[in-house]
C-alpha cells in the first residue's frame, strides 16, 4: 500500500478528537448553520413547547447523563427526526411532545383525534412506530420513511 492509497496516512492517539469525521459522528457541539430552518420547522409543527424541549435536549444532554450514563442526544437521530417532521401531518390542535430515550434518540409523541397516542422513535438506522388506536407496533428502516408516512400519517 502506498501513501496515496490511504487518504489519512497518520493516526490519532485514542483520546485525540478527530475533526475530520463527519459532523454527525462528532461528539463536539458545533455551530450548526441549519438550525434556523430546524427551529422554524419545529415551531410550525410542534409549537413552542416542542421547540423548548428540543432546545433542552440539545443544550443539556450533549454528554452522558442520568443514573446509568445514558447516551447523549444522537446527531443522526436528530437529522432523521427533522427529515420526518417536515413530512408528517400532525393534527393542528393535538397535544404533541418530544422526548429523549436512554439511547440518545429523539422520540415524537402526539395524541390523535381519538386522544390515543402515536409514538415514533428515531434511531440512527431505523425508526419505531407505535399507533395505539390501530395496534401498530413496528420498526422500519429509513428507506421506507416516505412509504410509512404516506401509509399512516399523510392523511
Amino acid at each position: 500500500m502506498t501513501v496515496t492509497d490511504n487518504p489519512r496516512s497518520y493516526h490519532y492517539s485514542d483520546n485525540f478528537l478527530d475533526f475530520t469525521d463527519e459532523p454527525a459522528r462528532s461528539r463536539i457541539t458545533k455551530f450548526e448553520p441549519g438550525n434556523a430552518a430546524r427551529e422554524q420547522t419545529i415551531l410550525r409543527k410542534l409549537g413552542i413547547n416542542g421547540w423548548g424541549r428540543w432546545q433542552y435536549f440539545r443544550t443539556c444532554f450533549s454528554d452522558q447523563w442520568g443514573e446509568s450514563k445514558q447516551r447523549p442526544l444522537s446527531p443522526r437521530s436528530q437529522d432523521r427526526f427533522f427529515e420526518a417532521l417536515e413530512k408528517l401531518r400532525i393534527p393542528k390542535d393535538s397535544k404533541a411532545s418530544v422526548f429523549l430515550t436512554d439511547e440518545g434518540n429523539l422520540e415524537l409523541v402526539w395524541l390523535d383525534d381519538a386522544d390515543e397516542q402515536v409514538q415514533i422513535e428515531f434511531g440512527p438506522k431505523d425508526f419505531e412506530v407505535y399507533i395505539e388506536g390501530s395496534g401498530i407496533d413496528d420498526q422500519y428502516s429509513y428507506d421506507r420513511l416516505d412509504e410509512i408516512i404516506d401509509r399512516f400519517f399523510a392523511g
Binding site: 413547547n49 447523563w65 442520568g66 443514573e67 397535544k95 411532545s97 422526548f99 409523541v109 395524541l111 397516542q117
Partner: protein, 128 residues
C-alpha cells in the same frame, strides 16, 4: 433471589420522559433492558424522592418530576399476559453504595409492553 411479588417498586420519572406541559409520559420510561427501580419496602416513598434526586438529576437540569409505582406481581402479570410477545419479567436486587433499595428489571422490554406497563403505573407527585 428475585424481589417478591408482594413488594412495590418505584421508577423515577424525569423531565426527559415526562412533559409537564402536555401531561404525556414517554414509553421509553420502561423500554429497554436493565431498567433501574427502587424497592419501597427498603426505602419508603417519602425518602425515595431524596434518593432519586441524588442519583438521577444528572446533569442538574434533568429534573425528577414524578415517581411511578407498580406492584412487582402486577408487573410480572403484565409481561406474561402481553399477547404480542409474552415476556417473563422479574425484579432483581442490585444494591448500590448508599442506595440499598436499588433493583433492576433485567429483561428487555419492548415499546408495546412498556405502553402496557405505563397504563398500570401509579404516578405520584411529591407532597410538600
Amino acid at each position: 433471589m428475585s424481589v417478591s411479588g408482594t413488594e412495590d417498586i418505584a421508577r423515577a420519572i424525569c423531565s426527559d420522559k415526562w412533559d409537564a406541559e402536555t401531561g404525556i409520559l414517554s414509553a421509553s420510561l420502561f423500554k429497554g433492558a436493565e431498567t433501574s427501580v427502587s424497592r419501597l419496602s427498603i426505602t419508603p416513598l417519602e425518602d425515595t424522592w431524596t434518593v432519586f434526586r441524588k442519583n438521577v438529576e444528572k446533569p442538574p437540569e434533568r429534573l425528577l418530576d414524578r415517581i411511578g409505582i407498580i406492584n412487582v406481581q402486577s408487573l410480572m402479570d403484565i409481561g406474561s399476559n402481553f399477547e404480542a410477545n409474552p415476556t417473563r419479567l422479574s425484579v432483581e436486587p442490585d444494591p448500590l453504595d448508599g442506595y440499598p433499595s436499588h433493583a433492576i428489571i433485567p429483561q428487555k422490554i419492548s415499546r408495546g409492553l412498556a405502553n402496557k406497563i405505563l397504563k398500570s403505573l401509579d404516578i405520584r407527585e411529591e407532597v410538600k
